[in-house]
């Protein structure tokens, strides 16, 4: 349901002002203020914000108007952060933002997009198989895109599968009737683990389990899911050295501060250096933290904008999740659309929680990027796609009395 008219424009304007001030400060610091190339990333963000807002206003006037500003804030902040940390990487991210946004917005406003997964479930399955093959053949950075898209398609197809359950049949009885087909959902996750990407497998697995529990409320199912999760974690710890390493670093990073625990210890030091209001843009030393532009981008944000910046980011993530789950609740009469809204909310929501919690040593590191903010073109594209589907779903909510 749209909030107060014009609120989205005000929020985008505020975000633009925040970014412009920080780009200006960064330009002064680097003595690049008169160079046109310094302003390129901000200019691209402004064009994306204006074009996206204009397109959504005309194509989906009944959308939740808070979602687009909540996506553009971390996306712009990410561009600023990556430009401040590694300018060469920012050029690539700046290319991904408009191209990802165009694809996402065109898909979201394409009329049959919400009927397509249900009507063409075999096509989705064929795409999943193709992506599985691509993910197992490709290596290095190029393996990222199929893995990320696989995550999105798996969740969409899982929603189609769950929505096919007759409402009068209890979920556990229905799962028992499905038999071996239930196990098929775990094969792609196993492949991701085998591809040394346990983080993506964990995010996808968690989202699938949560959707399963949201679909059919049953205490027994919740117990089975928890048991499955604990057993998978124990198995991963026993079989994968990367998981053992991450757990040991999480338990005691201080004794490993010169070696394997260097990243997390330096990350915590950077957060401490930031204090409450931060050192200011360009004034931090977060580059001493390895992979700070991707997994540890929160640390760079904390050092330069302090706890205040972290709280603003967390609040925007929490409001996005809240709005998304509200849309899922409003669409409860249509189980597929409702599950899809929950899935598209949980994908960035759970991923964000896992990486923030990992960096802050609440639990072991998962090695996924912070949605919309961290460096990674394919991760940004997938997050934009899921957010745009959510925007489309919000426009499907009937606006009668609730």
């Amino acid at each position: 349901m749209p909030l107060r008219k014009g609120l989205d424009s005000i929020l985008l304007l505020l975000t633009g002002a925040f970014l412009a001030t920080n780009f200006f400060a960064l330009g002064v610091l680097r003595q690049e203020i008169s160079q046109a190339t310094h302003w390129l990333h901000l200019l691209v963000w402004i064009c994306c914000a204006i074009a996206g807002q204009f397109w959504l206003k005309h194509q989906l006037p009944k959308r939740d108007n808070l979602l687009f500003p909540l996506v553009m804030l971390p996306a712009g902040w990410g561009l600023l952060l990556i430009d401040r940390l590694l300018p060469a990487f920012a050029d690539r991210q700046t290319l991904w933002l408009p191209s990802g946004l165009i694809v996402a917005l065109l898909l979201a406003t394409w009329r049959p997009i919400l009927q397509l997964p249900q009507m063409q479930s075999r096509l989705t399955l064929a795409l999943i198989t193709l992506l599985l093959i691509a993910a197992s053949i490709l290596e290095g950075e190029s393996a990222g895109l199929p893995g990320e898209l696989l995550k999105l398609l798996l969740v969409i197809h899982f929603c189609v599968w769950l929505a096919s359950r007759p409402q009068e049949v209890p979920i556990l009885a229905w799962l028992a009737r499905q038999g071996w087909r239930v196990l098929l959902w775990f094969l792609p996750l196993l492949l991701l683990v085998w591809q040394r990407d346990p983080g993506t497998a964990l995010v996808t697995g968690l989202v699938l389990l949560l959707l399963l529990n949201l679909s059919g409320r049953s205490l027994r199912l919740l117990q089975v899911s928890t048991l499955l999760l604990v057993a998978s974690a124990a198995l991963a710890w026993l079989l994968l050295d990367v998981v053992q390493e991450r757990v040991s670093i999480w338990l005691d990073p201080w004794s490993l501060a010169d070696g394997r625990g260097y990243q997390i210890v330096q990350g915590l030091i950077a957060i401490a250096e930031g204090g409450v209001v931060g050192a200011g843009v360009g004034q931090g030393q977060a580059l001493v933290v390895p992979v700070v532009h991707s997994d540890f981008v929160l640390v760079a944000l904390a050092e330069e904008w302090g706890l205040a910046g972290v709280l603003v980011l967390l609040a925007s993530m929490a409001i996005f999740t809240l709005r998304g789950l509200r849309i899922a609740w409003q669409l409860r009469d249509n189980s597929f659309l409702s599950l899809l809204a929950a899935g598209m909310t949980l994908l960035p929501g759970i991923q964000g929680l896992l990486i923030c919690g990992g960096v802050l040593r609440l639990f072991p590191l998962t090695g996924v990027t912070l949605p919309f903010l961290g460096y990674g073109g394919s991760a940004l594209l997938t997050s934009l796609l899921s957010a745009s589907l959510l925007v489309r779903l919000s426009a499907e909510v009937s606006h009668g009395p609730t």
Partner: protein
């Protein structure tokens, strides 16, 4: 989707836990962390002759 409200509350609690953890590292554990020998900023501060920030 009957359990959605309780689940939303649970997720919000998770965000609160993350925010509290960030607050702990940025304030409660701050002095101990920035004074560590392996903090590269100590060397920069020593060269510039400036003390560690207090409170910010």
């Amino acid at each position: 989707m009957k359990g959605l409200r309780n689940f939303t509350l649970l997720l919000l609690l998770c965000y609160l836990a993350v925010a509290l953890a960030a607050a702990w590292w940025a304030t409660g554990a701050r002095q101990g962390l920035i004074g560590r020998d392996d903090n590269p900023r100590q060397v920069i501060r020593a060269t510039a002759g400036t003390p560690a920030q207090d409170g910010s």
